[in-house]
């Protein structure tokens, strides 16, 4: 479950498989959303996302690699003034299409969940029971 801790949202660690699936799906859309805005290098992307959501930063790289394999993202090297060249990730056309699709699905899904929660709240209140 999502837990707020110091203004940040945290996923309670592992175990629940549904949580992990959910987390994976969410991370995909989060990463694409970032890249849709601008190109990032790995560390930068992770740091940025960490401001909003806490997660195992190490798992970003396999995700990015999978995107690259699926053609949603491509990489290039760019010189950096502070050390060796950095590997940047750039979203592709396919990636943008995938992103739009994912956003649509996400909105539909969250709307449906919201509706369900409100329905149940209404029903449980009308029964004269305690508010959830």
């Amino acid at each position: 479950m999502l837990v707020k801790c110091g203004g940040k949202v945290i996923f309670r660690e592992r175990i629940d498989p549904m949580n992990i699936q959910l987390k994976k799906g969410v991370m995909e859309i989060v990463v694409l959303s970032m890249l849709q805005r601008k190109d990032f290098y790995g560390y930068e992307l992770v740091t940025e996302i960490s401001k909003y959501i806490e997660m195992s930063e190490g798992t970003i790289y396999p995700l990015l690699n999978r995107f690259k394999k699926d053609g949603l993202v491509e990489t290039y090297l760019a010189e950096s003034h502070s050390g060796p060249p950095r590997k940047y990730y750039r979203i592709t056309k396919d990636g943008k299409v995938e992103y739009q699709e994912s956003v649509r699905e996400w909105i539909e899904f969250t709307k449906a969940v919201q509706k369900l929660l409100e329905e149940n709240k209404k029903l449980s209140m009308s029964k004269g029971g305690q508010a959830e």
């Binding site: 790995g42 560390y43 930068e44 195992s56 190490g58 798992t59 995700l63 690699n65 050390g83 590997k87």
Partner: protein, 202 residues
């Protein structure tokens, strides 16, 4: 854990993976440590934020991203053996119907021959006995000759033997017919044999 510990552990989980792939993957994490260091974080902090190497490895596995390099563990040998065995079985079983048919034919022929031989033997034996017994045959010198049986007894004995031989002979013939029927059925063409069979039995 330290950077070295983290990378070593990661390398350990990826030990059975194609090393070219692994080097690429590890490079990502090496530069992550570099960037973190440049940002002023300690190795422990960076490693903690990265999460567990095991989880990272599992995620690469889940994504279907990695291929194992060829190794000869027992399981590899066992699964290779299993593959070979099932391939062989497929090849053999494809040939089996033929072979079974062939084997059946051989068996049938053999059966028939055996029956014929037995029939002939019985017949021969019967005739011999009948002949000998009618001659007061002395099997061994010094022994009393075998008693003479009445012609009726001899006749009955002879006929029994004769019909027994005939029966065995026909069993051989029938067996052949049944097998032929079965193999013909297998070849998916019904034949007139079935009719003959029915008639004979009547």
């Amino acid at each position: 854990m330290t950077r070295e510990e983290f990378m070593d552990l990661l390398r350990y989980y990826f030990r059975n993976i194609n090393q070219t792939q692994v080097n690429e993957i590890l490079a990502d994490y090496e530069s992550h440590f570099e960037e973190g260091k440049a940002a002023g974080l300690s190795e422990e902090e960076i490693a903690r934020e990265l999460g567990s190497p095991k989880e990272i490895f599992e995620m690469y596995q889940d994504e279907g991203m990695i291929r194992e390099k060829k190794s000869t563990t027992f399981m590899d040998v066992a699964s290779q053996a299993e593959k070979t065995a099932s391939q062989t079985w497929e090849e053999v079983s494809a040939q089996l119907p033929e072979k079974v048919n062939h084997a059946t034919h051989v068996m049938v022929k053999g059966f028939r021959i055996v029956c014929d031989v037995i029939a002939v033997l019985i017949l021969g034996f019967t005739l011999l006995l009948v002949f000998l017994l009618s001659m007061q045959f002395q099997p061994v010198m010094g022994m009393d000759p075998l008693p003479v049986f009445s012609p009726i007894t001899m006749g009955a004995f002879g006929f029994s033997g004769f019909f027994l031989a005939l029966a065995v002979f026909f069993v051989g013939e029938e067996g052949k017919k049944i097998f032929e029927e079965k193999s013909v059925q297998r070849e998916k063409t019904p034949s007139g044999d079935t009719d003959k069979e029915g008639e004979e039995q009547k």
